[in-house]
């Protein structure tokens, strides 16, 4: 158990995890009700990873979260308003209606880099940020995420190799959620643990329980500390399970139900809340209040986002190029 987390940090984490889950659930519900636009992703089950890793970063550090990392965007300060407005293609969304769902949620004022679909393109981009910090001798680190599926991609390996040989302050959290879309991990690779891919490049590697937010937080914080000391990149394999389909349209019938119920027991959000109740940091009442706050916040965001205007097509050709 982490020594670096004080009570208020622990409560903060509980808030971010619950907010993440509440917003995620709300998005799923809206889309099922036909109130969505296009497709969208759920990160249900990934909250300990996205929140834990994001929470371990300093304000000056750069993050490049992916499609299961709603929690990381939130922790880093992207408001539910702007996220939801983006998903609904609204003018006030992060991309002004130009990119879909969680794609492209970049905001340099928050040190968040947006992603493209082509996986794992955020890995070298985060590495480049890390190399920029080295170049300028700044004590900053860059964090990004990759799936089990992405860990097969050549770019995953090229990035780890380059990070290692440059000794760059990069942290890669692999969200091993057992599936890449419909493809189970044993049809994707012939290894048991993705962490062995760190050793292939001379990168420090570690496995953590991806449903334990403190385990993730601690591992990422330690990796960041090492990186700031000039000890180079780290890969953290966080084992978890994707609890819904690949995207909203996907019922994931190909996933054995037993696997899901097994992992449901380890739900990262309720697990953390129960722990804080056990530790006495939350009471059933304060927990209920926290959950209600999250609901209110998400409801307000939905109201805002649904009312927000769509973008005006007149501006469609501006901004292809930076001035």
């Amino acid at each position: 158990m982490s020594h670096s987390l004080d009570s208020s940090a622990k409560l903060n984490i509980a808030y971010w995890m619950r907010l993440t889950r509440t917003l995620d659930d709300a998005i799923m519900a809206m889309w099922k009700q036909g109130r969505g636009v296009g497709g969208t992703f759920s990160g249900k089950g990934h909250e300990a990873i996205s929140v834990g890793a994001g929470f371990a970063m300093g304000t000056d550090d750069v993050v490049a979260p992916m499609h299961r990392d709603l929690g990381c965007y939130l922790v880093r300060g992207l408001s539910p308003d702007r996220i939801l407005a983006n998903q609904l293609g609204k003018a006030e969304g992060v991309t002004g209606g130009r990119d879909a769902n969680l794609h492209g949620l970049g905001d340099l004022s928050l040190n968040i880099l947006g992603f493209v679909s082509h996986l794992p393109q955020s890995m070298p981009v985060a590495l480049g940020a890390a190399m920029a910090f080295q170049y300028r001798e700044e004590p900053r680190v860059a964090l990004t995420f990759a799936g089990d599926g992405s860990s097969n991609a050549g770019l995953f390996h090229e990035t780890l190799n380059l990070a290692a040989v440059q000794n760059a302050p990069l942290i890669v959290v692999v969200e091993n959620n057992q599936y890449a879309y419909s493809t189970p991990i044993h049809e994707q690779m012939a290894i048991d643990d993705i962490v062995v891919r760190a050793a292939a490049h001379g990168v420090a590697g570690e496995i953590v329980d991806g449903n334990d937010v403190v385990a993730v937080y601690d591992a990422v914080l330690e990796a960041a500390t090492r990186a700031r000391r000039g000890e180079g990149p780290s890969l953290i394999e966080a084992k978890t399970m994707r609890m819904l389909g690949h995207a909203i349209h996907d019922g994931a019938e190909y996933v054995p139900r037993s696997l899901l119920s097994e992992w449901k027991e380890r739900d990262p959000v309720t697990r953390w809340e129960e722990r804080l109740v056990e530790e006495g940091l939350l009471t059933p009442e304060t927990l209920a209040r926290l959950q209600e706050e999250c609901r209110d916040e998400v409801e307000a965001a939905i109201e805002y986002a649904e009312r927000a205007p769509l973008p005006d097509a007149a501006g469609i050709t501006t901004g292809v190029y930076a001035p």
């Binding site: 293609g89 209606g97 130009r98 879909a100 992405s150 019938e253 769509l310 469609i316």
Partner: protein, 328 residues
Amino acid sequence: MTDVRELTYLDAIAEALLVEMGRDPDVLVMGNDVGGSFGGAFKVTKRVSDEFGPHRVKNMPMTELAFVGAANGMALMGLRPVIEVQFADFISTAFDSIVQYAATTHYRWGGSVPWVIRAPSDGGIRSGPFHSQNPEAWFVHTPGLKVVAPATPADAKGLLLAAIRDNNPVVYFEAKPLYRSLRGPVPEGDEATPIGVARIAREGSDITIITYGSTVHDSLRAAHEVGNEGISVEVIDLRSLKPMDTDTVLESVAKTGRALVVHAANRMAGVGAEIAAIIAEKAFADLDAPVRRLGGLDIPIPFSPPLEDAYRVSPGDIAAQLRELVSW
């Protein structure tokens, strides 16, 4: 014998796969999520997966460069892999295996690389900049590839049969907005649509539209609309982009004296530029008006409905151009 039974565009593709895998044991399917009970992001390979199983319908890890590269090797050994890239947008990930290895091998040392890449392309369905692309121009510019883009269920089947039988790498762009929205007659059996032969989708005498893929239908709508105003529009569905049936195009323009090129891909240096340039050169003496082009805007494809709609060529845009060109 219902020769005129109707199928969706998607089912026509699925039927071609079934027919050809039944006919030829060397044909196999590979790609992300194509196999098992799942059968592909769009379920195009569901029927062949159910029927032929994992030996012939192979799930691949998310490594397009390697699995298209592996298809190169399989094809050199005489197999005929039909590869699905999950969205046409991801074909860029496999670029080297296509444009450097597959495209050049026969010319260099005589190795034949008979694969097909099925690339679900095109937008209009709110999928954003990375699930809506029409990247055919990159491949039409690359010597050694063939490129086809069916617009109808009949050609979806017929061109896929032809592509699989062709002894060269063929990139087959299927228009995903047509998957379930378009239904049409599809011949039973295994007759292929020859690669390199355009189709006159509508006859007319005042102006020729040259197009392919989903904009064939937008063009037909526009032709119908201006037809009511007395403008007679010929619509050519190119079907094959490389090789391209320029004879049919030039004959039509010789007749009409006017040409409008339409495609869903963005305009600058798109395939439409090649078509317009050919017409401008070879039909110079026939032209009564400039050759115009309509395509997507030269911007990444935006997601939000008002933006995506403004991005895309519409029947209204086409009709407006037709009116202008005819009164040139």
